[in-house]
């Protein structure tokens, strides 16, 4: 867990402790990603339906994290 009193350059982020809401907010604000030719790459393709996946995991009794 990062200590907010640390100087900024001493921080590290615990990705596993991010909330689902934070994740979906970050996903919505995701910049474009491009390949070697500069063409857009759909890296969110396998995370497009995360909310549905989360609901399905919950229905199946599985844990879901971003």
């Amino acid at each position: 867990m990062s200590d907010p009193t640390q100087a900024p350059d001493q921080l590290d982020g615990d990705l596993h402790s991010l909330s689902d809401d934070e994740y979906f907010e970050a996903l919505a604000a995701m910049p474009a990603v491009r390949d070697a030719d500069g063409s857009p790459v759909d890296v969110t393709g396998d995370v497009q339906d995360r909310r549905a996946e989360k609901a399905a995991a919950a229905a199946a009794g599985q844990e879901w994290t971003p």
Binding site: M1, S2, D3, P4, Q6, A7, P8, D9, Q10, L11, D12, G13, D14, L15, H16, S17, L18, S19, E22, Y23, E25, A26, L27, A29, M30, P31, A32, V33, R34, D35, A36, V41, V43, T44, D46, V47, E53, A57, Q62, E63, W64, T65, P66
Partner: protein, 337 residues
């Protein structure tokens, strides 16, 4: 290092990775993305992390969060790494500036305590951190990515660090970093990947590799140690404890400077790697031995000849030395010990 030089550094790294056949994608804005206004120099070290992402999250599940950082009561501004390695071995270039990935820790080498972020390249690796196996493609991309970093930075493999080695607050990554550095060192020495180096990417850790060797070459389990003294000596396994010694992943003079995994990969270079992997997973060790019979016979014949030659005037230790030397010579393609 100025911002321009950091950009040049990552462009060179990117070009090298792509020339080695890896897929590197770039997040828009990566060349100006930074978590700090202070100067950034990525040549001080390479930090390997895992992102603790769900196996359900696919290749890029944590990428949005890596870019954005975290909010809440203990906010950490993004980016949280410079690179993201996907489960299938693709790599994303996230940021060419300081990333909040190392945090409090160290010092280590020339890296100052609690101040690694602005002197290192941080890589998040898609893995749940709960025992999820890395795909061979991911391990290969990691080894090559770390070697490419070292080549561009003018560093050795010793500068490749696991987050858990920087601070005892962390457990990531759940890989043997000594084994990782050995594989990276081989790629650096070759100035690029070769099939022999990729061989080790088939295995998640040294234990899995040795189980494969035991099953495939000796047709025995690790617990069955009868009559395996010679092989254990070559493999660097302690006779009494069964522990793996550093010699396993270090250079062996008998093997032309190769370490043991490289030497075996050389021997099994035709089609042995997939078979050895299958043996490691106990899928079909008998088929592996049958396929490898010509190569193993060649080594055995050479070893027996060496033993007979040394036996005329030598003691057991001398015989063993001669056998090891002859096996090594055979493995590196030399004719004579």
């Amino acid at each position: 290092m100025s911002a321009t030089l950091a950009v040049d550094f990552y462009r060179e790294w990117n070009a090298l990775m792509r020339s080695w056949g890896h897929t590197v994608v770039e997040v828009d804005g990566c060349e100006s993305r930074t978590a700090s206004a202070r100067a950034y120099d990525p040549r001080g070290g390479f930090f390997e992390h895992h992102d603790a992402s769900s196996r359900l999250s696919g290749n890029w599940g944590s990428l949005p969060s890596i870019i954005a950082g975290r909010k809440g009561s203990a906010p950490v501004p993004g980016p949280l790494s410079n690179l993201q390695f996907a489960r299938d071995g693709q790599v994303a270039l996230v940021a060419v500036g300081t990333a909040n990935h190392g945090g409090v820790g160290g010092p280590r080498g020339a890296l100052p305590a609690n101040d690694a972020n602005r002197f290192t390249c941080g890589a998040e690796v898609a893995n749940d951190g709960l025992g999820e196996a890395y795909s061979p493609e991911l391990t290969r991309a990691l080894i090559h990515g770390e070697a490419a970093w070292a080549i561009v930075a003018g560093r050795t493999a010793e500068y490749v660090i696991g987050h858990k080695e920087w601070t005892n607050r962390k457990i990531d990554p759940l890989v043997d970093m000594n084994l990782r550095r050995a594989a990276v060192a081989a790629v650096i020495a070759n100035r690029g990947p070769q099939q022999e180096d990729d061989f080790m990417a088939l295995f998640n850790n040294i234990e899995e590799f040795q189980v494969a060797v035991n099953r495939a070459v000796l047709c025995r389990t690790p617990a069955d140690r009868e009559g395996a003294w010679l092989w254990d000596r070559v493999a660097g396994i302690d006779d009494k404890t069964g522990a793996v010694s550093a010699v396993t992943v270090g250079p062996l003079s008998e093997f032309g400077g190769r370490n043991l995994p490289q030497a075996l990969a050389y021997l099994f270079r035709e089609d042995g790697s997939p078979l050895l992997l299958a043996a490691a997973r106990n899928e079909d060790p008998a088929a592996f031995v049958e396929a490898m019979r010509p190569a193993l016979t060649e080594v055995a014949r050479s070893a027996v000849a060496a033993a007979q030659q040394a036996g005329a005037s030598g003691d057991a230790e001398e015989i063993a030395e001669a056998v090891v030397a002859r096996m090594g010579a055979s493995l590196v393609g030399q004719s004579g010990a």
